[in-house]
């Protein structure tokens, strides 16, 4: 644990190993983007807007669709986890996170936010499946965007822990901090994904559950670190000792 004073850190591992996300939770999670796409489309049909506004609305439709498609793709991957073989290999997390930042920049810009990678001087290697790790970071970033105020920056961080044995990839948002109550409710929701509809976070419940499944498949663990001005969702993975061999 590396939480500093005034911060609270919590692993979300145990409850994530039981069961698959329910159809109800998945269906609910997809309601929000579909409802937004529908509202925007109907408005474009029935109302007259200026060219710039039309362009903005069309952009929102395409980006919302992409976000929803990412979720469906993650769900499919999550359901097939148990009978699939995953190639775990040494990965440079910096490179992977740079790709994620590049991919998410337009989405964040459309929300008047930014996403950036905190660069490291010394490279690290970790053991993971590239596709699953990318999905986890995308999920955390989506979640961070939801909690981030306009014009704020979401930061992807890479840290070495436990004397270099663990590499932590975190996504730090600078929105309102999650209260202990919300944190506890998140924890209990994760134990029963079917109850997601009774509480918040539309963007963190199922996404977090899936991220936990992916981390588990790579012998890793996800968790939350609360700060006074936001939260960091992180995944801890085993470091590769390839570098030390060199």
């Amino acid at each position: 644990m590396s939480a500093t004073q005034g911060e609270h850190e919590q692993y979300l591992g145990g409850s994530l190993r039981d069961g698959l996300p329910s159809l109800v939770a998945a269906a609910h999670e997809l309601k929000a983007p579909l409802a937004l796409i529908r509202q925007l489309s109907l408005s474009l049909e029935d109302y007259t807007f200026g060219a710039d506004e039309q362009k903005k609305m069309l952009r929102q439709i395409s980006l919302t669709s992409e976000s929803a498609l990412r979720l469906t793709s993650d769900l499919t991957r999550s359901v097939r986890l148990s009978n699939a073989l995953f190639k775990l290999e040494p990965i440079n997390p910096q490179q992977l996170c740079e790709d994620v930042v590049h991919e998410l920049t337009p989405f964040f810009a459309a929300h008047d936010c930014r996403v950036k990678l905190q660069h490291r001087k010394h490279p690290l290697l970790l053991i993971a499946n590239r596709d699953l790790l990318r999905r986890i970071i995308m999920n955390f970033s989506d979640n961070a965007l939801h909690y981030t105020d306009d014009n704020a920056t979401v930061e992807i961080q890479i840290k070495s822990l436990s004397g270099g044995r663990i590499v932590r990839l975190g996504v730090r948002d600078f929105g309102p901090a999650l209260s202990i109550n919300v944190l506890n409710s998140l924890q209990s929701k994760l134990m029963d994904a079917s109850t997601i509809i009774h509480a918040r976070p539309q963007s963190s419940g199922l996404g977090l559950y899936i991220s936990g499944q992916f981390a588990d498949a790579m012998n890793g663990e996800i968790g939350i670190q609360r700060h006074r001005n936001g939260s960091t969702f992180f995944v801890d993975l085993q470091a590769s000792n390839q570098l030390s061999l060199i």
């Binding site: 609910h28 929000a32 029935d46 109302y47 309102p176």
Partner: protein, 123 residues
């Protein structure tokens, strides 16, 4: 033109922008709050004529806000239209004591429903 000011309480920025487009086109003044705390501050500041309220909000649910609003006589009388994906799970009768006049289902409503609802609750 309407003189009424509507406060939209919705944590999806693009959806709140969408509501604002439609209501502004109908002549309403629109303000947006993305969470319950910001909503309470704005209600004190702008004294809105009506609220459009999402149920699942970042940080707390709309029900905490409804309770808070009912604690004060001035805010307790503001008409509220709940706009939610959970419409099937809510009963208007249960929410009427909290000033909720209508429930709109985000998944089936059309943009004009917002304007129709506002006209209805403000008439």
């Amino acid at each position: 033109m309407n003189d009424a000011t509507i406060l939209v309480i919705e944590d999806d920025n693009w959806l709140s922008q969408q509501y604002s487009r439609i209501l502004s086109a109908a002549g309403y003044e629109v303000e947006i709050a993305s969470n319950a705390l910001a909503a309470i501050e704005l209600i004190d500041e702008i004294n809105p004529d009506a609220l459009i309220l999402d149920v699942l909000l970042t940080g707390s649910t709309a029900f905490a806000l409804l309770h808070e609003l009912q604690s004060y006589s001035d805010t307790g009388s503001i008409p509220i239209v709940v706009c939610t994906n959970l419409a099937n799970e809510l009963k208007l009768e249960d929410l009427k004591p909290y000033g909720v006049k209508r429930i709109l289902d985000k998944t089936t409503m059309v943009p004009d429903d917002l304007v129709v609802s506002m006209r209805s609750v403000l008439s």
